[in-house]
Assembly symmetry: C2
Homo-oligomer: 343 residues x 2
């Protein structure tokens, strides 16, 4: 078998869910957008529901439809992108709750689905989603009269604890919502860790559930083991991979492993990346290709059958650093060819 095995530890997921839930007195909701951050929407959401999650967030209505099929009737499914043109039948039939982002969306929702539950998303400075303060001031009485299930916003810099933007967005959110009765929410994983001022009535952990920073106490959820196709000796002066970018400076043993950028192993990682054979780090050599990667295994005492890209020795954040990116992107890029095993 030349496909890699991605192991997803659902007990670790639940442990992270419990840890993040316990960090706040507010109602916890699970963010499972982007196929549960690449780990599989149905198995992840079903396990979180078993562990007590009653509210979920997805990015788009189509994800909400898939989630409703996985979870059945009970849980609340909130949609960050709100009520887009064309979404009405999905929102109605799957009983989704759109987080309304603009007056346009609000009018569409009230006209298409009068009486159907909705939330309101406010922009507190990120300038990405939600109503601006002036827009909100103009429509808030109309909106609140329809009893939104949630009024929420999102922090732009919560992963940096001491960024002044956090307090600024908190102040803005309080100014826009201090006198309303609807439940309020501001914090995702980073916001939970900023402390109780940020928790309001509902918190929305996402990346922390899946073992990623900024939740430093997260238990790792994923392991990725990639099969070795073959191992060869290369002599001094020989090159490895596309473009001859790596040249052997001493006699070397090179393993070719069966995964590449088509599996979400970002090509830019290139030679900064390592894998592990047990506790031994082994470096990538040459360019990452579409389906294969060369790895220098000269230092190993035994020929490995597989190498670890993610696991006890390399977290999603370790691997993210190889490509100068964030653990979130490593998770959501996890490829479709991997054999997914749920523990």
């Amino acid at each position: 078998m030349a496909t890699a095995t991605l192991s997803i530890d659902l007990s670790a997921l639940v442990e992270n869910w419990r840890g993040l839930s316990a960090a706040s007195a507010s109602h916890p909701a699970a963010v499972v957008k982007a196929d549960a951050y690449g780990l599989g929407l149905a198995p992840v959401a079903q396990r979180l529901a078993q562990a007590g999650a009653r509210t979920f967030f997805v990015a788009v209505a189509e994800e909400g439809v898939a989630l409703r099929a996985a979870l059945g009737k009970g849980p609340t499914i909130n949609v960050f992108s709100g009520h887009m043109d064309g979404d009405t039948p999905l929102i109605r039939d799957a009983n989704l709750t759109p987080m309304i982002n603009s007056v346009d969306q609000m009018l569409r929702h009230f006209e298409a689905l009068p009486g159907h539950g909705f939330g309101i998303q406010l922009d507190t400075g990120m300038n990405r989603l939600g109503m601006e303060p002036a827009e909100w001031a103009a429509v808030r009485d109309v909106a609140l009269d329809q009893s939104p299930t949630l009024v929420m916003s999102h922090l732009a810099c919560a992963d940096a604890t001491d960024h002044p933007m956090n307090a600024q967005q908190l102040r803005s959110f309080q100014e826009m919502t201090h006198d309303i009765d609807a439940p309020r929410s501001l914090a995702a994983t980073g916001g939970i860790l900023l402390g109780p001022d940020y928790h309001f009535d509902m918190v929305r952990p996402g990346v922390g559930l899946y073992g990623g920073m900024p939740f430093a106490d997260a238990v790792p959820v994923v392991q990725l083991h990639i099969p070795v196709i073959q191992i060869r000796d290369v002599a001094v002066g020989e090159t490895v991979g596309y473009g001859n970018t790596w040249t052997a400076r001493s006699p070397s043993r090179i393993a070719t492993i069966s995964a590449g950028y088509a599996d979400g192993i970002i090509r830019a990682m290139g030679p900064q990346a390592t894998l592990h054979a047990g506790s031994s780090a082994v470096p990538v050599v040459g360019r990452i290709s579409m389906d294969m990667i060369g790895v220098d295994v000269t230092g190993l005492a035994h020929e490995p059958d597989t190498l670890e890209l993610l696991g006890p020795h390399q977290t999603v954040d370790t691997v993210a650093a190889f490509a100068d990116t964030i653990g979130y992107e490593i998770l959501t890029s996890l490829g479709a060819r991997y054999k997914r095993v749920y523990l």
Copy 2:
């Protein structure tokens, strides 16, 4: 609808197939690994089969099983990773042809599936897959006695026409195979364009079929249009997106579009990237987030409903340059959330 639409022009695919087939007198085989470079294995392979393709290549046996289900009994399906431990039932039941990479794989194949077709992959200097010259010399008589259907190798630098590695690998391949009867293959898309010396009995176009360089005459196959969720005014000094990395220097109109790195839009593109509204280029502002991107649409006369990331104004290679990568990675990263429409 907040999901983007990925249009795949199967007529353009066939035009590229015909163009690359006509560039050589050899038997053309289609490379459809990695879900046909992200465009959908079944629809792509079925259309190529209609257009006359009789031989296909995939990376791993699992892809071969899926391809056999899509194509039925006739076509030949070759597997680059060869005969791995555990592959035997897949190779047998789906009638796959492994490209044997090592003596270990050869022994496994002969023992597990005597009489079952196979090819041989030789390493001519890339040091990635295939038997080394000495290994090949030791087993070639045994191997050739079993009538391999193909003896092949792969070029490391074919995208750079004048790289001396090309002639060196050609010489090595000729030395290793000049006196054999089995059909031979060395060239993928880049190798086809290097000219007839590189064509041998079979050529293996891949990326060129899908509209990517180095096939400069390729017809674009994909278009990607991303819906706008909302558009807002931002004042001088306001920031957009995670980490406040973009600040408005003049009053601006910012569109939030509904796709992000979870859809394979590589996060590293960030502010180097543009999209298009008709023929007008519009720049990304701030960080690409998981499900959304901010775009400066100040210069547009009308509010767009969607923006083009791939299409007539931006090829896969244009977009690749935003992330300092290659078109291949843009194709194979195309996300699962897109609504795929085949033209």
